[in-house]
């Protein structure tokens, strides 16, 4: 039994930490895990991703198109960009708040994210959408988007563990002063 997860978004959204928490929780459950993520120049405002695989008999951390059980999209256009990796019947969890690239600003493009969300709704049966910005506002910190997304992903039931498991790993991992805020974000459910 293997679970393939793809987390995608834009540099600086906290994708790496989300990926690390899933991996660390898998380790706790003695589930073999592999991952691969964007590192280097592309991190500076570029599209970033993290491939994550849980289970036995894994050869490499990457997987081909049509293989992901779950895509966690931190940005609507990035979710569309990586959608070819979703397996038939796979699930997506997507933040609806778009991030405008500098080039779009320069050229006066009218990217709003809405066209991406329409596309995702039309093409994916099992899709959950979260307004990450308003959720962050509710919780009171712009830094908890990754925990909000991760919490929703766990509630979708694709990962082989519970919110309590992820929370326990989070508490061990982050600085103590951020634990409470992150717990709130993991359990944010609207």
């Amino acid at each position: 039994m293997q679970t393939n997860i793809l987390i995608c978004g834009v540099g600086g959204q906290g994708i790496v930490l989300a990926s690390k928490l899933i991996a660390a929780t898998a380790m706790e459950h003695e589930i073999p895990v592999m991952s691969a993520e964007t590192i280097g120049m592309a991190q500076k405002g570029g599209s970033v991703f993290s491939f994550l695989r849980l289970g036995e008999d894994l050869y490499c951390p990457m997987f081909p198109e049509k293989s992901a059980d779950l895509i966690i999209g931190f940005e609507p256009a990035e979710a569309v960009r990586m959608l070819p990796f979703l397996k038939d019947g796979g699930q997506i969890v997507v933040n609806t708040h778009p991030i405008m690239p500098v080039t779009a600003t320069l050229k006066g493009s009218d990217y709003t994210g809405l066209e991406m969300i329409d596309y995702l709704k039309k093409n994916v049966a099992k899709a959950a959408f979260i307004d990450g910005e308003s959720a962050c506002r509710d919780i009171g910190s712009p830094k908890v988007l990754n925990m909000i997304m991760l919490g929703e992903a766990v509630r979708r039931g694709v990962l082989p563990f519970t919110i309590d498991d992820i929370e326990a790993t989070m508490i061990r991992t982050v600085k103590p002063q951020f634990a409470e805020l992150n717990s709130k974000a993991l359990r944010y459910n609207k």
């Binding site: 991996a23 691969a36 280097g40 120049m41 405008m100 712009p142």
Partner: protein, 605 residues
């Protein structure tokens, strides 16, 4: 043994430490950087760790340690080995006493490099054994074996992972500290017939090296990491030869299939010839799945010729595998399917997605390089100028709207490219931009050359007090070492004056008017003159409060957006707006706004 979730590079560092590592040196470069950083973090006090000024210095340091019987490792990316190739080629003849592993990370794609060069060529060129791991676990185990081989045969060895192994993570089995080997170096034993390279010594060493490599080819045929996986369908006369990360893509593609035989090559040099002969017998066709260059493919063609084996060898040379760029799970699956005559699942026609925004990498919000480039651009407006760039974050100054990097070649090259352009086009204002770490790594000799040979140019040092691109490593100008010492900084200004640059001015680029005046004044002088733009990397400092746009004053002229291209300014309802999550309050935009509409930050003067 216990399990840990480690990055490939971290696994390499931890494996080397488990093998009794005494010294590690290197120069940062993606995808190799985290090896040395992990070694520094895992240092229990028994290890000497150094970021050297460049790869040549690092390799020479590692050699000196290995002469003493220490186990040393030197880390770099593939282009770094070009810099270190002079000591490498000679060290191959001299050899070592302690185990020495030269870790060179290759970058198929390339994802963050200038070239797609293949270090396996350097192995055969320098005649040094080379190890090529496929996974994080294998990298951890193999680096320990590499030290054993190095010490047993008295030669440095190359260890060559690629990006996906370096930056992949996996839960792997690692040794407990009690299981670590402890290596106590004997010390340097004088013997000029061994350690001093002379033509006679090299002649004799050459003979020994060829004999050793012939022996190693046999030894490697029995080395457990070179192996043949038998075909599931024993009647099949087709087979696959592969290596590195492509081996794992191959195994993924063959999952649940009537798989052909697979040869995995973990030591591309010396090539495990006997194993290959065994693999090739009874085969009609072999597909070689490699990244970068067709090394295995050429070896198999050579072996088929030597042993007169009637096997057709396919791969990059026959265009059955793409010649450039990295392989992926999908590309390898497609190459294998075509080779085996398997049908690929037909791509289902999917709904065409909306146009996706492109996100090219850009200079960060608040990056002082943006201000430096803009100051030079303003100062040189209307004048015939050329702007030679170099390797680092500031290569991104090429992007619109700054458009301030006309050339970029390799580390430190910008200085003398500028000199060369100036010799042919004397009426051009020639500028060379170089970062602080690159300056120390390889621009100082360029500066000496320019001064001595009477160049007419402005050398602009973009000093953000760190090696930013690779993740903020210290260098001689930072006053910190990887051993945690606080030391005297090497002054860029004093170095420049010392090599004969008469005018050396230092200015904060975020004080825009001053910076523009400085460029006008300095560039008007004859000869080689220098400007040091000094302002710390925006990622390393606590930013000020974000800028605020006064919507009454803002006319929506977009000058801030069109001149600076800062990710901290976005369009919102037809007018510029500050992206508060990114803005560092650097104040540059408030200085370019013609209507004084951007405030909320400390005034630059």
């Amino acid at each position: 043994m216990h399990k840990e979730f480690l990055m490939g590079n971290a696994a390499i560092a931890r494996g080397a430490i488990a093998a009794g590592l005494n010294l590690v040196s290197g120069y940062p470069g993606t995808p190799s950087t985290e090896v040395l950083e992990t070694a520094a973090k895992s240092n229990n006090g028994s290890l000497y760790v150094e970021w050297s000024v460049n790869e040549k210095a690092a390799l020479e340091l590692g050699a000196g340690a290995a002469y003493c019987g220490a186990r040393s490792m030197v880390t770099m990316k593939q282009v770094g080995l070009n810099v270190a190739s002079d000591p490498l080629m000679s060290l191959a003849y001299i050899g070592v006493k302690g185990g020495m592993v030269i870790l060179v990370a290759d970058d198929p794609g390339p994802i963050s490099s200038q070239t797609e060069q293949d270090t396996r060529h350097f192995a055969s060129f320098s005649k040094l054994p080379c190890f090529d791991p496929s996974s994080v676990q294998e990298a951890y185990d193999m680096i320990q074996e590499a030290f054993e081989f190095s010490e047993k045969y008295g030669t440095p060895v190359l260890f060559r992972p690629t990006t996906r192994v370096c930056h992949g993570y996996a839960s792997i089995e690692v040794k407990d500290e009690a299981e670590y080997k402890i290596n106590k170096p004997e010390g340097f034993v004088k013997d000029s017939s061994k350690w001093v390279i002379f033509p006679r010594l090299s002649y004799n060493a050459h003979i020994r090296i060829e004999e050793r490599n012939a022996e190693l080819s046999k030894v490697f045929s029995d080395y457990g990491r070179n192996f043949i996986i038998s075909a599931k369908d024993s009647s099949s006369r087709k087979a696959i030869a592969t290596h590195g990360i492509s081996y794992t893509y191959t195994m993924e593609a063959l999952r649940d299939k009537a798989a052909p035989a697979v040869l995995k090559v973990s030591t591309p040099f010396p090539f495990p010839e006997q194993l290959a002969v065994e693999f090739l017998k009874d085969k009609d066709e072999v597909l070689c799945i490699e990244e970068l260059d067709p090394i295995i493919e050429r070896e198999l063609i050579y072996i088929c010729g030597k042993y007169q084996l009637p096997v057709k060898i396919l791969g990059k040379l026959t265009h059955n595998v793409k010649t450039a760029g990295e392989n992926t799970c999908a590309s390898v699956a497609a190459d294998i399917a075509q080779f085996m005559g398997w049908e690929l699942p037909a791509a289902q026609p999917s709904d065409e997605p909306p146009a996706l925004p492109v996100r090219p990498p850009v200079l960060c919000a608040g990056c002082p390089h943006r201000a430096s480039f803009f100051a030079v651009k303003e100062a040189m407006k209307g004048k015939k100028s050329v702007f030679c760039g170099d390797i680092g974050c500031y290569t991104l100054g090429n992007a619109m709207p700054l458009d301030m990097v006309d050339t970029c070649l390799c580390m430190g090259a910008g200085v003398n490219i500028t000199q060369g352009i100036g010799k042919i086009e004397p009426d051009t204002n020639c500028f060379a931009f170089v970062g602080d770490s690159t300056f120390f790594a390889s621009a100082i000799t360029g500066a000496v050359n320019a001064v001595y040979n009477q160049a007419d140019m402005t050398l602009v040092v973009l000093d953000n007090s760190t090696t930013a691109m690779t993740g903020h490593q210290p260098h001689p100008g930072t006053g910190r070492t990887m051993m945690g010492q606080v030391v005297d900084k090497v002054s860029i200004q004093e170095v420049l004056k010392g090599v004969g640059v008469k005018t050396v001015e230092t200015v904060d680029p975020l004080k825009l008017d001053e910076a523009i005046e400085c460029v006008k004044r300095v560039s008007a002088e004859k000869g080689v003159k220098a400007i040091v733009f000094k302002s710390p990397c925006a990622v390393l400092i606590k930013g000020k409060s974000p800028a605020v746009i006064d919507s009454d004053k803002c006319t929506g002229c977009k000058r801030c957006i069109k001149t600076l291209g800062c990710p901290g300014i976005v369009m919102h309802d037809g007018k510029p707006a500050i992206e508060n999550s990114l803005c560092t309050g650097c104040g540059l935009c408030s200085q370019v706004c013609p209507f004084d509409a951007i405030g909320g930050v400390e005034n630059a003067d």
